[in-house]
Amino acid sequence: MRSETGFDPYLYQRFPTQEERPPEEEEGLRRIWCAPKGWEYLTVVNNNYVGIFYLGTAFLFFLLAGVLALLMRVQLAAPLMEVLPQATYNQVFTMHGTVMMFLFAVPMVEAAGVLLLPQMLAARDLPFPRLSAYAFWAYAVGGLAFFASLFVGLAPDGGWFMYPPYTSKAYSPGINADFWLLGIGFIEISAIAGAIEIIVGVLRTRAPGMSLDKMPIFAWAMLVFAVMIIIAFPSVILATLLLEIERAFNWSFFDAARGGDPVLWQHLFWFFGHPEVYIIFLPAAGMMSMIIPTVARTELVGYRLIVLAMIATGFISFGVWAHHMFTVGLPPMTTGFFSAASMAVSLPAGIQVFSWIATLAIGRPRFNAPGLFVLGSIVIFVTGGLTGVMVALVPFDWQAHDTYFIVAHLHYVLIGGMVFPLFAAMYYWIPMVSSRAMSERLAKWVFGLMFTGMNVAFMPMHLAGLMGMPRRVYTYLPGSGWDMLNLISTVGAFLFAFGVLLFLIDLARNFRMAPGGGNAGNVYGAGSLEWLPTELYSTRSIPVVKSREPLWDDPKISDDVEQGRYFLPRSATGLRETIVTSPLLAEPQYVQIMPGPSVWPLVAAIFTAFFFLALTVQAYMFGLASGVITVMAMLRWLSETDRPIAQDEVDIGAGIMVPTYMTGPRSHGWWAMVILMIVMAMISAMAMFGLAFLWSNQPGFWTPPASLGGGIPIALGYGLVVAAAVSCRWLHRMGKNWAVAPVLLAGLAAPLLTWLDIRMWSAVLAPDASGQGAAVFAILSLQGTVAAIGVLFAAYLGWRSLRGLITPTGNSTLDLACLFIGYCGAQGLVGTIFTRAVGA
């Protein structure tokens, strides 16, 4: 294989270098990456802190949702109990599901990525530390405010999937449903911000030499996980937007009596909802694949098969969403395809399980704390997987749907596939961030209680479900045969809770955060890079990676890294920096200057949360003000980035010179922008799917669309916006500074074109007239939003240009503005034609 970037791989042979490094280099690194003090903890962006904050907050939500589960189990312990009134019970089960899925599971694995990935990849930090900080604070502030709705009786009560028409204004007139619809908005934003960070981090900040085939399996898992978030989350973003608009403005997306269709919600929700299960499972499976070889003291069996299985899971999980809808009355052909795909998705999961079993079988496994939890996980997850194959069979699903059998199945999958691996991971990696490891003796009790409690709680639910006990009932009559089964489940739930409580006691006794070194060390003898000695700047120098378990294969590597004998043993520019490498072979490309601590991500996050919460309680002026402050804070934080660097090139070790600035498709900023555009394109594509779906299912409500001929000038206008964005970038590189002007004009023209399109459609159709009107105006509104962001980009570009910060070589902002405004034109072009073509 030729070099990917022109880098000569023989240069790696210069490492480890032999000469002594000056002691002031390490002092310099410590000074640049210094620990925060006092209030500075709020402005910290380093992954060592943000990762721990993130994990702690996500675990707090696990505990809170667990308490809700216990409340439900007490209510159901015997027939006709009156612990929780019916309305409160509805809020409690809705919040339990919502908090576990949105505020615990996804953020928890994202947090694990933020904390572990830089260490595993031997990067100084992830490429957008301020974005990580923003994602965390938006999630923490918004999540706590969202949870607080429970204490004032305003928590959502429509189930975690919020099906209309039950959640429409007619049947849920309060603001409880709005809390869910707007309340998870900031969680979606936070998840997507984290996913962008992870994708760019995994693909562009790996240690030199760590080609894709040498990448830690957890990094592969996080890569697939983050890509899945980028594809899946736009669907739920759109769904929540549409339902909120229907509730607020009476646009009928989901009202069958007015040309909408409630099944559209189910499609949009489950296109996100089912991949969500794998979004949660894959990182946990990645953790398992890291822990098991260490526990078994041997290499992972079938590395490439596991990578394949993870990618396959990522793809196939998008083909199974409708198995949640088998009882809706889908066309028989559709049902057949989804049933087949639902059975097929068990194949990649099976590959991983067999690889784990084979690794344990050929190794010399130790049944220490992580070892016990991985074994427990395999047993529980396989049980859940088997019942999953059962419910993939349509006739069985018709019987089991909406019964406690499904409750049992999903808890076996999620607890076995995510919670047990997470506990294994906490035992395994806590010595990396704490000066003391957890107690092995207590861990055996924790495992015993949790494993027994889990099975005692959920195994009887299979039977209760097969005996006909429906989900989401707040009580039941005596004599139905469910009494004893429910009592046993409640006992099991409390056993599980005692296990978690014991874990908390152990955590309080032993956890002592050690972000600046002094941790308990590699107590399990693992072979991957996160176990190198680290400080707040990560490793002293960034090693050349030659295998998947460098610590096993090169016993001297820790010492060499510590002595600064590899890449970047000092700060070459006097700033925070890391090496950006190529995506396939991880060849060094340039040094990225990383932003330091800042209060602006915190301010932006707080006001993002206020924005959504203000809309929920209909305080529109406060919401508007919060939105403006959010945008201003983000612009302020951006204004400190993309600054000229004194040195064009720096020595990153052994005389290897790389640039300090990169623009265009090779830069990390370009990658992030492309991913953001994929998110926006997915939202737009889902909206167009919604229009086509309504046309197909509600033809009786269709009116002839606006004329295609009338739309052609608008489409041409959008085409010019694209052309201006492309040509501006090209001309500016040729030294034509005036070329910024056309893209500024294009940025301003795009909203004008959207306004013209809205005027044209308004003559034909009103948004509240029918499902068609609602869907068309939703597409136009999305286009308007993208165009408004384009105006912000244009204004920001103009400001930087006036300040002389855009030069022919230092033009990253220009590139990104052109990219976004070009995208805006392309989306407008497609939308203009599509809305007129459907039903013409």
């Binding site: 396959a312 083909g319 395809f337 049933s339 072979l585 086509a692 197909s696």
Partner: protein, 90 residues
Amino acid sequence: MKSWLILLGGFIVWTVHFFGLYLIAEFAPSATLVIALTILCIIADLWLLRWLRAMACSEAFAQWRRSVGMAGAVLSLLAVLWQGLPVMLA
């Protein structure tokens, strides 16, 4: 880009097949269309396998990339056949 095509080729074929099936079933249900699409995707997978088999790979990463790509194409072939079955058997 070529590396990603090799790694993901099989899954891209599967995606085209699956979403093609969904769109056919949702908007224009027709067994003939389903069978035609299934045959096209089987041909695409077989072509992918042949191309990857013939690819010269001397270095470790290239060999790894090819083996993952081939396994993905085989998995895709099975999945395409499997998902075509409900219509072919009906």
